[in-house]
Symmetry: C2
Subunit: 125 residues, 2 copies
Amino acid sequence: MDDPLYFPPRELAVMSILWRTGGATVAEVKDALEENLAYTSVLSALQTLEEKGYVTHEAEGRAYRYRALVDAEKAGDSALARVRESIFQGSAEKLFAHFVSDDKLSRSELERMRRLLADRLGDEP
Amino acid sequence: MDDPLYFPPRELAVMSILWRTGGATVAEVKDALEENLAYTSVLSALQTLEEKGYVTHEAEGRAYRYRALVDAEKAGDSALARVRESIFQGSAEKLFAHFVSDDKLSRSELERMRRLLADRLGDEP
DNA sequence: GCCATACTACGGAAGAACCCGTAGACACGA
DNA sequence: TCGTGTCTACGGGTTCTTCCGTAGTATGGC
């Protein structure tokens, strides 16, 4: 097991952009962020993340391109485990039940989920 | 839509106990917490949560009994939405796929999930 | 060469989160 | 009555997070 891996809100937003893009410059991150932050604020966030070891950078022309060092899957593991544990009393089923009860899920999404679950059940004789 | 509802780690741990128990005194929260905090630290956390409006208290004997004012479902909504949005690129399916790929899920759990999903699909003709 | 532009490094302010000690109130038993 | 134990209120210290301004460096156009 690895350390629990936790990102405060703003840092998570930045990581999210790095995961989506696969790597981004400060300016790109700034543009992708919903809130309108100063350039240096974005830079600071990235430097903080780098200091923590979650991110690295390499020169690209005059600028740096930042890249995530932890992958989204790992972060997803930690986040879902935390949600399951603290909000759904440790029960994966409770989490699941709540997840699929979301009205905004389309029928086709639900059907693809059913398919996924069927596959998952099939692979374990 | 309500406000996004977010709890930093320690406060989430405290809320978790209130959700599980339905209400608890400071001493009970302290005992239930994994980390060994000073009594007053736990009290502080509860007072902070109360100030934010997530918690209330009523006298019970000489002590206060604290109770959550937001329910776990709402917190679950926010938490899952945040995870889906920032880690799984907004895709409920990606989240789901990752969720069911967890090795620690037992076959019976998975089967109960399948049932739940089937019911959910059935209720929408 | 000189200027504007784009970028990073650095430092620091302000607030949030976290943690606890001390003081005071209150009840109970000796 | 006099501790003793349990509880809350209050205040303060420390670290983390967020945010940005200033200064310095390099690049490319003129």
